[in-house]
């Protein structure tokens, strides 16, 4: 197998693919990237056996089909070499024999060990039961507003990801770690197909949101019961296994008829919380809200008995109340709010808080209180 390419053309595709590959592997081939040449096209694939990223690059120099082939090489080393070459470098990639690939560029020469392509985990076959198009920007926003609430390494494995719920008239994207929940929806027409709910694992979500662009370009999602595939462009594809499990009934945890409504400036609230958090317990981060007519007092106190107090002018005409929260959860939620004003919907000291952008229905953050 042989091909030539410029450093500039190779760097970005390689970077996208290599990021799924964990370099510490017990199975050596999983630390490798699959390199294939066919029809004057270079195809790079990286996988961790759960998430696979796949990228194609057209080759400029015509090399002839006798140079076609497929091989796997150590991903991190390959990428580091390419990255370290000078800007305008021209790269020649040549498989010398079964065990060796030689990369040449100008006066540099690298000989890398390789493993046969047949041993590389094969891409999942998707017998698509649902497929549709979405704008890059739309999916990017949906994920940005929810992914922070995913659990990490929770024993309730179905929380370690983001749930995509395809409903009749909308797509609901939701994540929760059991303490707080983030939900974002987007109008969507299922066009008579059957509703479907899938949970995409944490790692795929993180990779995906890095790859999404702030553009109106369309992407194509297809899935079956076990896999999801997202074609981000004609060159870039991500495929992932789905988490097998059922996501908690998230509609059920949304507070019902909250009647104590606070409206405030997002930025102001966020800044006040950031300052208050400095003197909350550095590990457990408890802060307290006290609500009274058009006023919100935020206080914190740490084990050294240091205290912070912030007074905030807000719109509020409900009963007075106090309630405690983990300030990190509040800040996480506020950080992804895009509107200038937010609305906090309270019920009482022991019930969850709903945060929404002012006058908007499509984003909902729910946070459970903390008893301090």
């Amino acid at each position: 197998m042989y091909f030539e390419i410029t450093r500039k053309e190779l760097t970005n595709p390689l970077k996208a693919v290599v990021s799924t590959i964990e370099s510490k592997q017990t199975l050596p081939i999983l630390a490798n990237v699959l390199v294939e040449v066919e029809n004057n096209t270079l195809r790079l694939t990286g996988t961790d056996a759960e998430v696979e990223i796949n990228c194609t690059v057209p080759l400029e120099a015509s090399i002839g089909s006798d140079n076609d082939g497929a091989i796997t090489v150590p991903a991190k080393k390959f990428f580091d070499i390419v990255r370290a070459l000078p800007d305008g470098a021209h790269i020649q990639f040549n498989q010398e024999d079964e065990n060796r690939v030689v990369i040449k560029s100008g006066k540099s020469r690298f000989s890398l060990s390789c493993l046969p392509a047949e041993d590389y985990p094969s891409s999942p076959e998707i017998n698509s039961t649902l497929s549709f198009n979405l704008m890059h920007r739309a999916l990017k926003d949906l994920l940005a507003q929810t992914q922070y609430a995913m659990a990490t390494n929770d024993v309730r494995y179905y929380l370690n990801g983001v749930c995509f719920d395809f409903l009749e008239d909308k797509l609901a994207v939701v994540a929760t770690d059991g303490h707080r929940l983030a939900l974002a929806t987007e109008a969507f027409d299922l066009a008579g197909k059957e509703t479907m709910q899938v949970i995409v694992p944490r790692k795929a979500i993180i990779e995906l949101s890095r790859m999404l662009e702030n553009s109106d370009d369309s992407l194509e999602i297809s899935m079956d019961a076990n896999h999801i595939k997202i074609v981000l462009s004609d060159r870039l594809t991500l495929a992932s296994k789905l988490i097998d499990g059922s996501f908690p009934d998230y509609w059920g945890v949304l507070p019902v008829n909250p009647n104590r409504i606070v409206t405030t400036q997002t930025g102001e609230l966020k800044q006040a919380l950031t300052r208050t958090s400095i003197l909350s317990n550095e590990k457990f981060k408890g802060i307290r809200f006290a609500l009274s007519l058009n006023n919100m007092v935020i206080t914190s106190r740490n084990p050294e008995q240091e205290e912070a107090e912030e007074n905030l002018m807000v719109e509020y005409n409900g009963e007075e109340m106090e309630i405690g929260f983990n300030v990190t959860y509040l800040l996480d939620a506020l950080s992804v709010m895009t509107t200038k004003e937010v609305t906090l919907h309270f019920i009482d000291t022991n019930s969850s808080l709903l945060i929404t952008p002012k006058d908007l229905e499509d984003v909902k953050m729910v946070i459970m209180p903390m008893r301090l």
Binding site: V155, R180, P248, M370, R371, L372
Partner: protein
């Protein structure tokens, strides 16, 4: 069912067979015979007991005592089953003060061996002897010259029960078991002298130990000098409960749980509740899988304990098990809290150079030989109090606002429960600002002295009255931080609860659900709230904030298992402490962190005021002393 069994009739077993079956429980091996005979001697008020063993007790076991003896007309009776002079009715069991009461030991032994009994009753003029081969062949008692007391010889154990005989190990192994039995009884009865011979050689000779120093000598003989030198004396007197004895310093531990002797009202017992209590007390001062050593004596009203659980009487049941558990944990924790640096004039500091730490535990040690010994002097309570009082008076004029923690409180029994809201993180450090250093005269040199400098970025070198002090900076700081976090946590235990948006659901069996309900307040106190509305599932609605990101479901399930099996559980606290310990570790200074002298001195002062600061959270020592003598020896000075 086999035909033969279906057609057989119900009959009374012959006495011999019945006794042999009973013997199966009581007489397992030669050591069990020795145990029963020694218990009888002790019950008879003996002050000297001689044990002679031949061939591991398989050929001969002879126990001679100077107790009250047996009346000639009761000699034969003593050998019958269910004959005892120790209780008359079941109520007597409630106030039992003797070791025996079941009246089946002699009968059981007689059923599986040839027995010779010689006894001289203390009010009689002469002794009598009687032989017995099986229960059937009993000779008439004949007079014999003998001192007051009883001598029982057991020949050819298991001669008529070949199955048992086959299970005997080598004579040496059997003798080792006998030795262990004698050890337990010798530890339980200090005022009785013991001598033990094997194949005509005296192996152990223990005079009656009536004074404290004789008792210590006995401990040293039985448990080793090393153990004695690395123990804390335990003394706790409450109305209903008393605990005293010796427990090992945390830095002296073993890989096996084999030097653990617990006596309840003078009787050696093995009890899971007690084991649990001791482990809990050592929880954050002992290295991972290490075991503490102890010789402990618990005294309580015999009414509150049932010893009649098993024929060997090793197991007991407590009426107030939770209270006993709590008492032991609190007492031991209080004593372990004193493992902190202190000055002491009259204790011989031990030498690192001169001791052979490996000696005792050589066989069992593989991983951590250096932890088997400790080089700090044994503390006494008065010494700490005095020292601290000196400090307090000294520090007072310059820093009147600052509270030095009342370490003397450590000995007030309620301390652990008594932390109140008012207590803040101890601000000990400030009491000894560095400028004051020069004010200290020789006479009131603090226990860890003053810092000289830092070594390898890891150790602090300091000089105190005795010589050189080496402190593991990170380990010491870690303990200080950890203890501070503990105080904060203990003062606001029940607060800081995170409510769950998605409750954790555990599917449990009926017993587990019932237990969770029964212990609802216990869980609540620790920050858990459950919902029982579902018959098969437990919903966890609230969890202590500290335990975020831990596997709550498994934890609750494990705790329920503890509660069902033991009636107590410290798993939640343990998890929380582990969390605090890891926070403490992250917050503590690391290797290569440069400290100036003032900072080093401040750390030394904090150590002196931090409970348990002799060892880090993992049980490793935080500091060692190299005395002038040891230093001199290294340079062969004055030789």
């Amino acid at each position: 069912m086999p035909y033969a069994i279906r057609n057989s009739h119900i009959q009374h077993l012959p006495t011999l067979v019945a006794n042999q079956i009973a013997a199966g429980e009581v007489v397992e091996r030669p050591a069990s015979v020795v145990k029963e005979l020694l218990e009888n001697s002790l019950d008879a008020g003996a002050t000297e007991v001689e044990i002679e063993i031949e061939k591991g007790g398989i050929n001969l076991i002879r126990v001679r005592d100077n107790g009250c003896g047996i009346r000639v007309n009761e000699l034969a009776l003593a050998l019958n089953r269910h004959t005892t002079s120790k209780i008359k009715c079941i109520e007597d069991l409630e106030s039992l003060s003797s070791l025996g009461f079941r009246g089946e030991a002699l009968a059981s032994i007689a059923a599986v061996a040839r027995l010779t009994l010689i006894s001289h009753f203390h009010e009689a003029n002469t002794g009598y002897t009687l032989q017995i081969n099986d229960i059937q062949e009993m000779s008439e008692p004949v007079p014999i010259a003998s001192p007051v007391g009883t001598c029982i010889e057991v020949h050819e154990l298991f001669y008529n029960t070949p199955a048992r005989r086959r299970f005997l190990r080598t004579p040496q192994t059997e003798f080792n078991h006998i030795q262990e039995t004698v050890k337990k009884l010798a530890l339980s009865c200090f005022n009785v002298g013991f001598s033990l011979k094997h194949n005509r050689k005296v192996l152990t000779s223990l005079p009656p130990a009536t004074t404290e120093s004789l008792q210590q000598q006995r401990i040293a003989k039985l448990c080793g000098q090393e153990f004695l030198e690395h123990t804390l004396d335990v003394h706790e007197d409450r109305e209903a409960l008393q605990l005293h004895g010796w427990i090992s310093m945390p830095t002296y531990s073993r890989s096996q749980a084999n030097m653990q002797y617990f006596f309840l009202n003078g009787r050696f017992i093995r009890d899971k509740l007690i084991n649990h209590a001791v482990r809990q007390a050592y929880r954050d001062v002992l290295y991972r899988d290490r075991h503490a050593c102890y010789v402990l004596y618990l005294t309580l009203d015999p009414k509150l304990v049932d010893v009649n659980v098993h024929p060997t009487k090793h197991e007991v049941r407590f009426a107030e098990s939770e209270q006993v558990h709590h008492f032991i944990v609190a007492t031991l924790q209080r004593h372990l809290a004193t493992t902190m640096p202190k000055t002491e004039e009259n204790t011989q500091p031990q030498s690192i150079v001169a001791t052979e730490p490996e000696k005792i535990t050589k066989n069992t040690e593989s991983t951590l030989p250096s932890l088997t010994y400790h080089i700090q002097p044994k503390p006494t309570r008065s010494a700490v109090q005095e020292t601290l009082q000196t400090y307090q008076t000294l520090a007072a004029p310059n820093s009147s606002k600052i509270t030095v923690p009342q370490v003397s409180n450590a000995f007030e029994s309620e301390k652990t429960e008594n932390f109140t809201e008012k207590i803040t993180v101890p601000q000990v450090s400030n009491a000894f600002e560095s400028e004051k250093t020069e004010n200290f005269t020789e006479a009131i040199m603090p226990p860890l002295g003053y810092a000289l400098g830092q070594l390898l970025g890891i150790y602090i070198l300091a000089e105190n009255k005795k010589g050189l002090v080496l402190v593991d900076m990170h380990a010491a700081h870690e303990r200080i931080t950890y203890e501070q976090l503990k105080v904060v946590w203990q003062t606001k235990k029940n607060n800081d609860v995170q409510q769950l948006l998605v409750p954790e659901t555990l599917s449990l069996n009926d017993q587990e659900i019932a237990t969770a309900k029964q212990y609802e307040t216990f869980f609540k106190r620790l920050g858990f709230k459950f919902d029982f509305s579902d018959k098969k599932h437990l919903l966890i609605l609230e969890v202590p904030n500290v335990l975020q990101k831990t596997n709550i479901g498994t934890l609750v399930q494990d705790v329920l298992a503890d509660l069902i099996y033991l009636g107590v559980s410290d798993r939640i606290e343990e998890q929380i402490l582990t969390k605090l310990a890891s926070i403490a570790c992250h917050r503590s200074v690391r290797a290569n962190h440069q400290l100036n002298l003032a900072e080093m001195n401040n750390l030394l002062r904090q150590m002196e005021h931090t409970e348990r600061s002799n060892q880090c959270n993992h049980g490793r020592p935080t500091w060692i002393q190299l005395t002038q003598k040891e230093l001199d020896a290294l340079f062969m000075r004055g030789k």
